[in-house]
Symmetry: C2
Subunit: 323 residues, 2 copies
């Protein structure tokens, strides 16, 4: 296991320092925390906070900025940040209209987010939480994990919050996006944690792991490696079952960190050829990774007019710039 790093115990902090140093007109690190916040909050709007364990870069700190998040909390690698960190992010994001937390569906994140909400409410800051659970690899919706679809929910909710909408209205749009988005992933190679010398699981040269999460956990099923074409079919089938059949789509092909852009676009090509639908937006790249894992996730979002407008609205963050 080789990585470009110094002390593995300090890798998240060094990452955050590097990110801020490279983008210091846009973002800042709140002193004494692992919270990245917008350098300036220019308008009175609902604050938007996200966060979770690190190892998924550019999520979430890379999406802090105009039109997306106001603050992002970085836990240790694959570990939920503490409630005090979420609380610091809420305080930084608060502009007087309340704060919405967008949290991926993991017990630790939800629990710490809720504790932070209590701390904020005690200080008079109104908060709400929307839980993202887009991963169809898990059958029970209650247990479903939040994966790459989270980034599209952040984009949409962030754009809507910029309009100055109220907290209940921003929450409504986030919940609508969550209800219409589904994802699934496949890995060809496991990831390796910075502080551990072993890959998170073993895969032989002719196997792939289907239905993986983003924390190096095993998937739902192990299969023979398939062509891009067949892999696209394999991920599309369970996703399409839960996507309204008439709506136009936004799709995201997300690299897991160790997958070349060439492969991601080959896969995108196969997905688009097999989807006999109106595809209005296609995003291809590393949006939510799992360290150096080789693999991809596929996300489909059923659009309506409101969601489309939010997706097309301007954004100025480290990793997502448009308009």
């Amino acid at each position: 296991m080789k990585k470009i790093m110094n002390d593995p115990e300090n890798i998240v902090s060094a990452f955050l320092d590097g990110l801020v140093a490279a983008n210091n007109t846009l973002i800042q690190r709140l002193e004494g925390t692992d919270v990245i916040a917008r350098r300036s909050l220019t308008s009175q709007k609902v604050g938007l906070v996200s966060g979770g364990g690190s190892g998924h870069e550019p999520a979430h700190a890379g999406y802090v900025g105009e039109g997306m998040l106001d603050a992002a909390v970085a836990g240790e690698v694959f570990t939920s940040p503490g409630a005090d960190q979420f609380f610091a992010a809420i305080q930084a994001a608060d502009q007087g209209k309340g704060v919405l937390l967008l949290i991926k569906n993991y017990n630790g994140d939800v629990m710490n987010g809720e504790m932070a909400q209590e701390m904020a409410e005690a200080e008079g800051v109104k908060t709400e939480m929307v839980i993202i659970n887009d991963d169809v690899a898990v059958n029970d919706p209650e247990q479903r994990r939040g994966i790459a679809g989270t980034v599209l929910v952040q984009k949409i909710t962030g754009a809507f919050a910029e309009t100055g909408a109220s907290l209940p209205d921003v929450k409504r749009v986030a919940e609508k996006a969550v209800s219409r988005i589904r994802s699934m992933s496949v890995a060809l190679k496991p990831c390796t944690l910075p502080a551990v010398a072993q890959p998170s699981f073993d895969l032989s040269e002719d196997e792939m792991e289907v239905g993986i999460g983003i924390h190096g956990e095993r998937g739902m099923e192990r299969r023979d490696v398939a062509t891009s074409e067949k892999t696209a079919q394999l991920l599309l089938e369970p996703i399409l079952k839960e996507i309204p059949s008439e709506a136009p789509l936004a799709i995201m092909i997300n690299g897991m960190g160790g997958t070349s852009l060439m492969e991601q676009h080959v896969f995108a090509n196969d997905v688009m050829k097999q989807l006999d639908r109106d595809i209005q937006h296609t995003f291809v790249g590393d949006y939510m990774t799992s360290l150096d894992m080789a693999g991809v996730s596929l996300t489909l979002l059923a659009l309506d007019e409101e969601l489309s407008e939010c997706l097309e609205a301007p954004a100025r963050t480290v990793q997502w710039t448009q308009g």
Copy 2:
């Protein structure tokens, strides 16, 4: 060796189709070629063409668009495109003011580019070529390879061409950028070609390869794996020797395809801490890769006012959007 692909012999073509399908308002593939061109040329300006072997994505097709390239030619993986492909790109980029080719310093690319120039001149299209050779790992400047610094040269030259400047003037700015830019790379893991089951070289778990190129070739030196801090020092030293000591800098930390953004930012942090200079722009990410190689390159560009303005100008391409 596992990759997300179908027929490895067809991987470049499938990649180009996926890239265009995902970005069809911005770019098009010229029929019967591996050339990606802007969908619309809106102003009369010098045409800008780049290209070379594939495997370096998002270079070069990801940089076709407003403010950067007018057309990019994709060869097979790590293989120069033929002269006829470069010629097709020149024809597509020509808007009546001549065409500049930005070519990385590899024999095949230079030779095929020159042949394409002759074909174009025979058709009455004025052309020039600027050769990029930013890699200080090679001592002899004549033999120096073009690596990630190429992307900054494309950004700068593309912005300057948008001003409507003449071909000699656009060439002058490209040459100035080339004269003030230097890079060097290190690999922790080799890459694997799609059609070959073996890594391009072997590296043990405690070694790194210093001074690698972007085609899976061996580096200049093999060393024990070092910390990010020491690796930054190792790459900075030879680069700084050739960079004017007073000029403000733009720096690029480029991932080689299989390196997580977390590691890239850790490395960026160490580079910036060791550089006691005025750093005006820092770019961190996968700009010019070598398939799934793990490693980074470091690029320093000595700015002047003209180069700064070009770097800050708007760009709208698949992979570089600003302003």
